[in-house]
Symmetry: C2
Subunit: 200 residues, 2 copies
């Protein structure tokens, strides 16, 4: 199909598709003349993914470029998959040292994690910011939040392991992580109502 | 203290403090002359809160205005607290109809929630967007995510109930919800590593 038909199929305007092409998040079509190209079903899927990441996931275009790059070239072994997916999600962040409280929390939970990893540093910054704003985030509350998020992560890992191919497993981790974040935050708010009613 | 001292104490530049004053998220100081005003400790706290919400929580200034308004005038009964906090967080969103799958999920979980509420509609949109992007979000995965977020919400509700005053309870719900979101998302990523290692 031509670019105008790709626009019609996906509901994304031609000028946005040209922007995606320039930014390298949508692969070029098969050139049919000096000024036109042919697009296929894989382009329809890719446009839908990019639009979802940008519009609903709030992912910046540079991060989308890393994500689609990882989807196009997943690591051959499932063993390396999560590491590659996490590097993709974390970007260039070198990972600052995690505060002692966070390191202690992870050890206390018995989690085998890389304490120098970018998300441990991010966790430290987020805890500090929440406390600075006056959130009553006690160490006990933090531990219970961590246990609940472990249950979330177990579902994440099972969905990735159940994927039929490395490509699908990579998609499950990367897209599943970014796009399920808003689902979890909406569930939290709805669950607050339910938990509050249960106590009343 | 003068505005320059407030800037020094909080590390927020004077021009940003003036912007906060203009936007109504920082109350005016006590006027000491036609051009200068005196600020107190309550202004230091407020500036720290506003900066944390804007910089770390990514909250738009219009939403910050609603949040500080709710903190300044919490409802007299704890019964109304969560409703007021949620209206504050949801803003003007009229709340579209939730998709049948989400309504069925909530009923299946036995959650007493307002099915027309803004967060149920948000949940429906987030589920749809995640699936459109290719996230493998099965109904069973969604149910398990919901159960994990109920455990999170129970901690949220306990922290609010344990607050010594309606003001503190309001702060626990509103600030705790917005500022703990990034903590939960970082925990999810760190937990993925731990859950994946546990399975290897």
């Amino acid at each position: 199909m031509r670019i105008s038909q790709l626009a019609e199929r996906t509901g994304v305007p031609v000028h946005t598709l040209k922007y995606y092409l320039r930014e390298g998040v949508l692969p070029a079509g098969r050139a049919t003349s000096r000024t036109s190209a042919e697009y296929g079903e894989e382009h329809v899927d890719r446009v839908r993914l990019v639009r979802a990441l940008v519009e609903h996931g709030g992912v910046p275009v540079a991060a989308v470029r890393r994500i689609v790059g990882a989807l196009d070239a997943p690591p051959p072994s499932r063993h390396e998959l999560l590491g590659t997916a996490h590097s993709t999600l974390a970007g260039e962040d070198p990972g600052a040292a995690a505060p002692a409280e966070v390191v202690e929390l992870l050890r206390g939970l018995g989690w085998c994690t890389w304490e120098q990893g970018p998300f441990v540093a991010e966790l430290g910054r987020a805890v500090e910011a929440a406390r600075a704003a006056g959130a009553p985030l006690t160490p006990e509350a933090l531990r219970r939040y961590a246990e609940a998020m472990f249950a979330v992560a177990e579902v994440d890992v099972e969905l990735a392991l159940g994927a039929p191919s490395p490509e699908e497993a990579m998609r499950a981790v990367v897209v599943g992580t970014v796009m399920v974040d808003p689902v979890l935050l909406a569930l939290r708010r709805v669950a607050q109502e339910a938990a509050s009613t249960a106590r009343a």
